[in-house]
Structure formats: structure tokens, C-alpha cells
Symmetry: C3
């Protein structure tokens, strides 16, 4: 039912790499389970930008071995009484604060969790019971070290099964900023200035252009089909429509940011 | 007496991540001991800022499995005749140049090393004997690769015991910039602009405010107790008093830098 | 003949660390071979700067255990019909697009591959046969995840031997920007502003100064031999002549960039 732990834990945070915080969090994991493999998914989520973190976590769906434990820490409410969650879905485990960070991963799966609903993966979500697990936070500011990391390490090493982490949760916080398909919005701007939309590659059939930032940009299959400096739209590696510029920075050229709307055109 | 190696090595350097230097240093470790686990503690120490590196190394005390080998390389004197040290204290091993970088880790422990002195951990420090270990530096600029990394890998894998690394040292260089508790100074500014002081959480009893940068900042338990944009002081994850700004950058707001003094007020 | 895999894979890319791309590529490796050790060689190659990537890859020669698989992804032609290569040379494996990225690693070895030619290591290069290996690219933009990573993981874990990866290639693309020794040019500027030349340490015999950026800079053995703020040239950790500034940034001080020429002077 729940996948067998792979012994691999990934970390996504807004900690940045200037400070020893990520290293110290890894120490907290290794203190519990010295043999696990830890992979940095991303530590450059803009501080406290939960929706960007939610996108980054969802990018890991299907991209790691079954039974991998994915930890997300973008946690403006750390130290207050928000819940801490663990979820089992998409063949992996997902751990983070209950503030929408797991929302894109859970999105359609929570909808599908209605008994008897057809198709799609079904998520099981639990609230981490710190008292029962013996992981009462030492600090009020660093639950990645004090709770999320330790729980991930125990789960990855098989010390606790998923069902032992705490009681079931039926109402996890979902993102106000929906990551659903078909909205026609920019949901992520990567470091190269590529504008990733929430339009699934399968949904662009018939469209030949994208209207974005006041410009009409043609849809192509790959960068090489346009000249250097030209804008194009293509289905990128996330499986989503992206607006890019061959040998350039589309975000800068178009003056477009995360949240901007786009339109498909024939 | 000395802890059993955990097989884990952490690295703290001022190498940055623009260049392949950290990767090449890891290669040097893996050439000696291919099975060890290497963890990045921090590579963003400002170039040659030994005191900042000393703070970062000390942040690892108690945060990794016993027997972990912590390597620090912030080494303005590389290529000159400074000693290279290994220390055993706090249940772990610590390796680096003899320039004060290990000073905060050793600080109170060296004082305690007087025979018959009461309580506290006691450090044993040794000078790395390159000739005996067969690790004469290949270069005069990259002893992280040529000496510190190899020695750490051998120690972590149990090829050499700690006592075999070289003769005892009784007078390691201690930081001019003391990291001792109670000075009332900013000792670290993190990437979010939090101002970490050298005042231990246990030492603030009775105080209700902090005077810093010409402003009186109230002490609270967590960020959530003040409105967005407000300054506060709190005991942070290092166990030290920090000055922070909820959803802001305290360093920028206060115009305060590392080394500034603070005062506790009632 | 070909080295036994060490189980270690290094990654050099121009992906940066702002996005989850490196993490996702690691997931692709671990999905194929969960037990391998992955090391970041460098992810800060300037976007699409193949020659800089070629220098970084070559910096790994001799610096990792025999049988390590080095993957380079700096790939402006991704999605077009450029070949994808794997090479066996210098005791290791090297994987990347056929655009010159492997050129500095292969450089002299390809020349030496003429049957009967004297001395030096000899490279064997093969074209990755995606169809045969069952690793047809899922995307047209992320072959690090779809092809290079998986092939590296299989090779590292011994699932495929080197010869099974595809047919032999006798004409890999070599860099237009030659990394050959003796040209007297700046081939790499590191994050500290050190100017790394293509002049091997062994080739400076007799020279006492370097002419660079309109200045005459003295050759020394180590930083400590000049005062703070002074320029010097020395044989750096790559084994190449570098121009540096003690406690300063030589690139900024001299106004010199990658590609500039230098002259040895007596």
C-alpha cells in the first residue's frame, strides 16, 4: 500500500546556501539514520514563497525512486500552531508544514480521495505527532532541523512506518495560488528567464502561438527551430508549456513575472 | 576515549560554488576512502574571514553523529609555515589550519584542558605530520585537496587513528575575535539579515529588550508574536540571541554589521 | 582495459542552483542506480559556455578514483541532431554532448590515438545509442535528465559496459578554443578573480615575470611572498600558471578577461 522506503531523502528549502543551515539540517537527518542518501532538490526558493516551493516539490513527482522521502521547508509560520504534515502519494512520501507547500503535489489527489471516485492517485495525509515520535522542537525557528528532518530520516530508514507518524488529516491547506492545469498563467520563472506556465503539453493541441506580455510568440518543438535572440514557446522538461528565448532571457525581454496570464492562439 | 569514526565528513570552506574547487576536494577524499559520506556544511564563508568560519564550524557542535570529521578550510596562510591541526572534542574530529579557525570549537575546551580542572569537554589537539602520513602538499595553494581532505578521509574510514596523525599541540591559535558568551556583540549575519549575537539564550533572563543600532528591540519567543515588518529579538536555532525582522532583513533595516555591540535592557 | 566502475558519478553543468534541475537530474540517476555516489563537480558554468565547461571537466583528470564517471552538460544544441558521447580515458569515463565539451579531456589523447603513436593516454570514444539502451529522450530540452544521467548511472553501477554504449567515434568535435599548453592565454577566471592560463607549470622555467593586461607581474612560489594587495603569478592548483593578487581580485585589478593573451618574460 505505502511504498517501501528507498533510503533516499530530498530537501527543498528557502534556506539559501550562504549559511550552514542546510548542512546542519543534514546533520539532524544523519544523527537519526546515518546510512540514508540525501539529495538537494533546491535551496533557492525565495524566502517564504510557499507557492514557488510547491511548484518545486511537484517537479519531483515521478523523478525519484519509489519510496523516496521528499521534505519541503518553506515555513513562514514556524513557531506558531500550524500543523506539520506527512503525505503518501505518487509512490513517494512528502513532508512539510501545513501551509499549502504540499498543495501542488496533493492537488488532484486530494480531490480523488473521495471514496469511489474514479482514477488518479489517492493521497493519504497524516499530521506529525511530535510528542508520540519524541521529536519535540528544540527551537521555535528551525523545525527543518528539529522535526521535518528527523521524521524524514526515520521514515527513510524504516524506523517508523508512515501510519505511525500521527493521525489522518482530511483537510490539508491547499494553495490559494492554484497550480492546476489550464489556467494560462506563469507559475515559475527559472534562473535562465524561462517562463513556465501551468498549461500541460497535452493541452496545447491546435494552438500555434501564445500571447504573453503583449507579444505573440510562436510554439515550436525545440530551441534550434528559431534564430538566436528569438522568442518561442515549447513544451519544456516539466511537461508544461514554457516561453523562452533562444540564447536569451525571456522574462527580462518580455518584462513578465510569475503570476502573469497567457493565452493560447491559433 | 576518541570517538569511533562515523564515516561522515563535513566540509566548510571559503571556496564558493562558482568553481570546481569543492568538487575536486571531494575527489581527493574519495580517492582515499571511496565509501565515506561527504556533507557540505557551508562553502560561502567570505574569503579569508577566519572568524566567520570559526562561527560556522562551531555551529556543527552536537549536530552530527559522534565520530564525524569536520574539515574547515579558510586559510589565508596557505603555503606558508602555519601548522595544520586535528582536534578531538565534542564527540567529533575537527581539522583545519592553525589560524584560529578551530578556535570557537576549542575555546572553552582548551581552557578546561588544565589537568584537574572541573567539568566541560576536554580537547586533544594534534599537528598533522604530513611527512609521516605521506601527504606532502602537491600545491602551495590548495591544502584542502592536498592535506586536509586526505587526512579527513583516512580518519573517517579508520585508516589512521587520531593519535597517529602527529604530535600533540598545547597552544593552538585562538581567535582574536572571541566567540565567548556574554560579550554582547554581533558575531554572525545570516543570509536573511538576522543578526546573531554571542549572548547565550540562558543569559537573557530578566532582559526584555535589546539595544542595537540605536534602536530598542523587544525580546519575543517567536516571529509570529510581532506584526510583519517589526523588529524583534529571540533565541534562535544556534541557542543564541538573534535580532530579526518579521518578513524583513534586520541587518539592512538597522544598518548593523558583524562586530557591532548590543546591550540587554530590562 | 577499461577501468572498473567506482560507483561514483560527478556532474558538471550550466544549470546553476536557483532551480530544481540539478536535483531532478540526480533523481534520474538514482532511479537507475540507487546505490551510486553523486558528486557535484560544478554547476556554475556560464550558460552555454562550452569552453569553460571543457576546462572544468579537465580539472577532474586524475582527481577522482579510477572508474569514476564524469558527466558534463553544457549543451546549446540540445534537441538538435548533435551526437551524444561517452569516452574512456585517463582511467575514468566522460559523458556529454559532442560539441567540444569533452575536447580538453580528449585533446592530446585523440592525437595519440593513431595506432603506433608513442606515449600518452589513448581515448576510446563511443556514440551513445539511445535506442539500443532504451533511453529515448522524453524531452527535447533536458537530456541531462533523459540520457546523460541515466547512461552515467548504468555505467557507474556496471549495468552496461563501456563498449555496449554504442558505436565507436573517431572524430569527436574538438574545441575551437584550444586548451593546449603554451598558448599564453587566460583560459579560466575563477570566483576569486585568479586568472588561470594555459601555460603548464613545467613550461615557465627561466621566466621570472608575466606580461598581462599592460603590467609586468613577478612569478613567485606562493601568495605569502608578496605584500597584501600586490599582484603575482604562481603555479596554481591546476598545475598551470595563474595571475593572482594577494588578498585581492586580479581580474578586476587588471581589467582582464578570459581569452586575453599573456607573455612570459625573463
Amino acid at each position: 500500500m505505502h511504498p517501501r522506503p528507498s533510503g533516499i531523502v530530498t530537501l527543498l528549502t528557502d534556506f539559501g546556501v550562504k549559511d550552514p543551515y542546510v548542512g546542519i539540517m543534514k546533520g539532524a537527518l544523519l544523527q537519526r539514520s546515518p546510512k540514508i542518501t540525501i539529495v538537494d532538490l533546491c535551496h533557492a526558493i525565495p524566502p517564504q514563497e510557499v507557492a514557488v516551493g510547491a511548484f518545486g516539490l511537484a517537479a519531483a513527482i515521478g523523478r525519484f525512486p519509489d519510496g523516496t522521502v521528499h521534505v519541503g521547508v518553506v515555513d513562514p509560520g514556524v513557531g506558531t500552531h500550524r500543523r506539520m504534515l506527512a503525505a503518501s502519494v505518487h509512490g513517494c512520501y512528502w513532508i512539510g508544514p501545513d501551509n499549502g507547500l504540499l498543495g501542488t503535489v496533493l492537488g488532484p489527489t486530494v480531490a480523488n480521495a473521495t471514496p469511489g471516485s474514479p482514477g488518479g492517485p489517492v493521497a493519504e495525509v497524516r499530521e506529525i505527532d511530535c510528542e508520540r515520535l519524541g521529536t519535540a522542537p528544540e527551537s521555535r525557528t528551525f523545525h527543518g532541523r528539529d522535526v521535518f528532518g528527523p521524521v524524514a530520516a526515520w521514515l527513510a530508514a524504516g524506523r517508523y512506518g508512515f501510519s505511525a507518524l500521527g493521525p489522518r488529516v482530511e483537510d490539508p491547506v491547499m494553495p490559494t495560488d492554484s497550480g492546476g492545469v489550464g489556467d494560462g498563467r506563469i507559475v515559475y520563472v527559472d534562473g535562465f528567464g524561462n517562463l513556465v506556465t501551468d498549461v500541460a503539453g497535452a493541452a496545447i493541441e491546435g494552438a500555434r502561438n501564445v500571447f504573453v506580455g503583449g507579444r505573440v510568440v510562436p510554439i515550436h518543438a525545440t530551441y534550434g527551430e528559431v534564430a538566436e535572440g528569438e522568442l518561442l514557446a515549447l513544451v519544456g522538461s516539466f511537461g508544461l508549456l514554457e516561453i523562452a528565448q533562444n540564447c536569451g532571457n525571456a522574462a527580462r525581454t518580455l518584462g513578465v513575472e510569475r503570476g502573469a496570464t497567457i493565452e493560447l492562439r491559433s
